[in-house]
Amino acid sequence: MDSKRLILKFILLFGLTFLTGLISSRIGFNTQQVISMSIFSVSVFATLLFWDFRVAIAFLGVGMLLLTKTVDLENIIKFASLEVILFLMGMMVLVGLLKESGFFAWLITLILRTKNLTAKKFVFIISILSALLSCVVDEVTSIVFMSAAVLEICDYFEVEPTVYIIISILATNIGSTGTVLGNPIGILIASKSGLTFEDFLFKAFPLMLICLLITIFLVIIWYRKSIIKLDKNMNELKANEILIRLISVPPEKKLRVSLSIFGITLLFISLHHRLELLWYLETNTLLLSIPLLSAGAIMIWKWNKARSYIEKDVDWWTLLFFMFLFAKAGTLKYTGATDIIAKKAVSIIGNNLNFLSGIILWVSFLGSSILDNVVLVAAFIPIIQGFQALNLNLQPLWWALLFGGCFGGNLTMVGSTANIVALGLLEKERGIRMNFFRWLGIGLVIGIITTSVAWVTLLFIPHYYR
């Protein structure tokens, strides 16, 4: 980074933070509220301007909050939401085992072995697989495997992979809304709202599926020329032994055991609410502890690799960033800053729930297209909690936040981590650089249509109010 640009960015960061502080004090925040707001805004702007420094800035921010006595030690630890961090950690260990056992390679061989593969069938399979995979494992793991499969298959059939990478990314972002496991914002919302896996399964999953099918339909029309070309090459080259044998089928026993552990984990996670009621446990106790139990079991089974799971498969960098981000967002609520914002919002736009959920949906949609959606959701959570004091039904607001935060990832090429990872692979592997406007075309269409579908659903289906 050249020094002139760096200085400009620093000036911009301080300017924006100063402005936030100034606006906060103008609208009647007290000193502590202004400090918490300014420190949180540094984190938000830093993710935009200094992505590589985000953890350093998170550390500094939390240190400053403690030093300025804006929050005390006990509360900052509480706000760090260790339960969410531990859940993500447990899932990362589980995904590490799945990777190692060849689960993803096995999934890819399923595509390769599809009988009478046609281009449309291929689009359908990669979309469904991307979405379902990002429903149950994190979206980055899911997109790396899907991109690898798309690149290899397109290479075999001698077509440009860009279109199929885009389709896979769109489906991944949509799919990640389906359960609490897909996107970190899912578990974050679940843990703060008390929504259960079952709620996600009956409310988020069907809506995700509808949006996915609409997306598949639209991309088939949008990319019809590329699909015709792939069809032609598929007819000429035919799926033969070489394609089927491109990726080796992993050893069966280990795969079977890993799949069983994964299956049992998913089963218990999906039944967590029922079991919690049965065993008189606090809401989401099981949801948050099942990945830990699975990770523990895995580390006993593979004891000689346990350290490697913890050191290599757990993304500490991201988890630490999340932890400090949550701590700073919690402080906003603690100082009462977000309660004031919630009150102001209601005094300006009224307490019409439909209107509020629409605003949250579209603001989080637009916001997450440029910001990391975890940052955005972390900022929104205390505001939504602030609405509770005003006796509002929060349910549709949580769903609006989830769908806006995930679907916004499709709007721009930097909208979500999955986009950045997959487009990075495309550039590195095939030298194809995505153009901002090439993405924006399809991103706008899919983003706006799927978010509109979510909006209409939230407006008219009472299911989302209970």
Binding site: F104, S147, I242, S248
Partner: protein, 153 residues
């Protein structure tokens, strides 16, 4: 014992503009795993190793996908090798190179080889010019000689 007592003084090297295919053939010819890349002023600008080639031709996601093993060579590998043919080594060489000075001790070199996973380390003089190269074999041989395992070269 110091490095200058065991290093090879005749350094086989390549220039930054040499093409990758020729450089690879040089590796095969001398049965070594890496070559220092030296500019016209005899200054070290990089290291070209088999590992760099492997990194270039295998898919970059191979380390991130766990057990994702290709049974057949994907077409992309051959294509990448073809692309590399006419390109200069400066494009793929490693620019951050572990080096030692002539008076570095044997133990220090051995430690560097272990920690940095380096097989061959260039030896530089005060003007940062390459005066020799020391390989793992040279270090181990020196120890073996000391222990009396090897009587003479």
């Amino acid at each position: 014992m110091k490095v200058n007592q065991i290093m090879s003084k005749e350094v086989i090297s390549i220039k930054p503009k040499d093409n990758i295919k020729d450089a690879l053939m040089t590796l095969f010819k001398y049965k070594i795993s890496g070559l220092p890349v030296i500019d016209e002023n005899q200054r070290l600008v990089g290291m070209f190793t088999e590992k760099d080639i492997l990194r270039e031709i295998l898919p970059s996601y191979i380390e991130r996908v766990g057990r994702f093993v290709y049974e057949e060579n994907p077409k992309s590998i051959r294509k990448r090798l073809e692309t590399l043919t006419g390109l200069p080594v400066s494009l793929i060489m490693r620019k951050e190179v572990v080096t030692v000075s002539e008076d570095t001790t044997l133990c220090e070199v051995g430690q560097l080889m272990l920690l940095q996973k380096a097989r061959r380390i260039p030896v530089l003089d005060n003007q940062k010019k390459v005066v020799g190269i020391v390989a793992r074999e040279d270090v181990i041989k020196a120890y073996a000689k000391e222990a009396g395992w090897i009587v003479s070269d």
